[in-house]
């Protein structure tokens, strides 16, 4: 019983990480209907950026993430402005294939720069500290921070989307690209700001990815799949739905692993496909697509 409770709690906390993976994907899709196949590789890229900043400035991963955020925002802005905007508005294939090409470029670029060795973001004593919940159940501080960060990120994103002029512009552009231009909205710039914002979320996700486990340049695509599953399970267009989706995939994985360690990833995928069969619009649908 204790084992199962533990698996459940771990799964919920893991869901926080997956929600962070998913929030960036959902943000970009929600505004410009762009599905970024390089999303997973971008998370890994961000982890390497944090790693390098930490090593270079001799600071801990949290400080390094703070330092990396503006860099990553600009990188996202530039990527959208110079490359991805050109792929939009020309049908299904160009954005898919351009981001797929990007995924291959990022993964192999990282292999070339950092080799295939496993890395980790070392945060000192916080990595091993945990909080006891009752006599046999305890939770790690880092996983707890991950979930808390996911919640904060979603609160901030919802604030931006529903309480600011920028958010109105995001939603207006998503609703009707042609008319949004008549409002003086410069949509290439709005898209670039959105991708910059997604990169900020991606960097926060990368911090916790790198502190919770080892990473290497090749593990990006799997993260894309988890992010995607969380978005679909949660239902398009709702950040809170994405958190719920992330938690469902996380719990499926930890419970699967509890039954048989080899089934962890498979259980997550199977849970996703099952929900897809019975609730094709996700558990909390909002946007019409």
């Amino acid at each position: 019983m204790i084992l199962w409770t533990n698996a459940l709690i771990e799964g919920v906390l893991l869901g926080g990480l997956y929600a962070l993976f998913a929030a960036g994907l959902s943000l970009i899709f929600g505004i410009m209907r762009l599905v970024n196949l390089a999303h997973g590789d971008l998370i890994i890229l961000a982890a390497f950026v944090v790693l390098s900043v930490a090593a270079w400035l001799h600071i801990d991963p949290f400080a390094a993430t703070l330092a990396a955020l503006p860099i990553m925002f600009l990188a996202g802005f530039a990527l959208q402005y110079c490359l991805l905007n050109r792929a939009l508005g020309r049908g299904l294939l160009p954005p898919l294939l351009v981001t797929f090409g990007l995924s291959i470029i990022i993964e192999n670029g990282l292999l070339e720069l950092y080799s295939a060795d496993s890395r980790r973001l070392h945060g000192g004593s916080i990595e091993t500290s945990s909080i006891a919940l009752g006599h046999a159940v305890s939770v790690g501080v880092v996983p707890l921070l991950t979930l808390a960060s996911a919640i904060v990120v979603i609160l901030v994103l919802n604030f931006i989307f529903y309480r600011t002029a920028l958010g109105r512009a995001f939603r207006a552009t998503a609703d009707d690209l042609e008319i949004s231009q008549l409002m003086g909205i410069d949509h290439p710039r709005i898209f670039s700001v959105a991708t910059g914002l997604a990169f900020v979320v991606v960097t926060i996700a990368a911090l916790y990815l790198g502190m919770r486990a080892n990473f290497d340049p090749t593990i990006g695509p799997e993260r894309l799949l988890y992010a995607f599953e969380a978005v679909i399970v949660g239902g398009l267009g709702s950040f809170w739905g994405t958190l719920a989706g992330g938690i469902i995939i996380g719990v499926a994985q930890t419970v699967g692993a509890q039954i048989n360690p080899e089934w962890q990833i498979l259980a997550g995928h199977v849970a996703f496909l099952t929900i897809l069969v019975f609730r094709p619009r996700g558990l909390f649908p909002r946007a019409v697509d």
């Binding site: 002029a165 109105r168 207006a172 231009q181 409002m183």
Partner: protein, 233 residues
């Protein structure tokens, strides 16, 4: 000098030519109506002015500047606002958000701050926090006009604001247009409802198959002239 001018404006959809050398001029403070049958090129004319269809720079002039090649967002910032055909409110924004987004690119001082728009269309104030999709057709049209007006444009372009609405609603909308005109905004209305068009406009242009077939002051045009320019027979 004219505030807004088109000089030999042409427009294409692929190989199909929709406008053949349109010359029009709008003086400051004036209201001009563009009338014509379906497919005459009226909406294309408006889209060309606001930059949703782009052409040579010198085909559209605003305030002494060539703007024919400028993107729509830039044209709007200069002070030309369009009320698009079919209202086209943003469905995921509330009524008030739809109004606020109207001044995203331009918030010039002028006669139309948000409370003045609510005073012009009291029905909107009552529904300000509702989803824009819950409004009636007439209210949606009011919100679309308000959305264009809130940036205090120098020129307001209206595309078929009477379409699909009851006569009494149309009359209210055109009364509002007279108030907008009285506050100093120059207006171009594209309209199939000739009666309303004549009621508010200082001058009219009639389009037929992409060409301007007639222009003049409403009082000076005969029924026969208009019929010929409108239908071509």
């Amino acid at each position: 000098m004219a505030l807004l001018e088109t000089r030999g404006l042409t427009a294409f959809y692929g190989d199909f030519q929709a406008l053949y050398g349109i010359d029009t001029a709008l003086q400051p403070g004036e209201t001009v109506a563009i009338i014509g049958a379906n497919g005459a090129g009226k909406s294309t004319y408006l889209k060309s002015i606001v930059g949703l269809i782009r052409g040579p720079a010198e085909s559209v002039w605003f305030d002494g500047q060539p703007i024919g090649a400028r993107p729509a967002a830039d044209v709007m910032k200069r002070g030309i606002a369009l009320v698009p055909e079919g209202r086209r409110l943003f469905p995921s924004l509330t009524v008030e958000e739809n109004l606020l987004i109207g001044r995203y690119g331009r918030s010039a001082p002028g006669p139309w701050p948000l409370d003045k728009i609510y005073a012009l269309f009291p029905a909107l104030k009552a529904r300000r926090h509702s989803a824009s999709t819950t409004l009636s057709g007439g209210e949606q049209q009011m919100a679309a006009i308000g959305r264009a007006l809130v940036s205090n444009p120098r020129v307001l372009l209206c595309d078929e604001i009477s379409l699909g609405l009851a006569p009494i609603v149309i009359r209210d909308l055109y009364n509002a247009l007279l108030q907008i005109k009285a506050a100093g905004t120059s207006v171009v209305v594209v309209e199939q409802d000739i009666v309303q068009a004549f009621r508010v406009s200082d001058r009219i242009y009639c389009f037929q198959e992409g060409r301007c077939s007639l222009s003049g002051r409403p009082a000076e045009l005969s029924r026969e002239q208009i019929h010929l320019a409108y239908f071509g027979t």
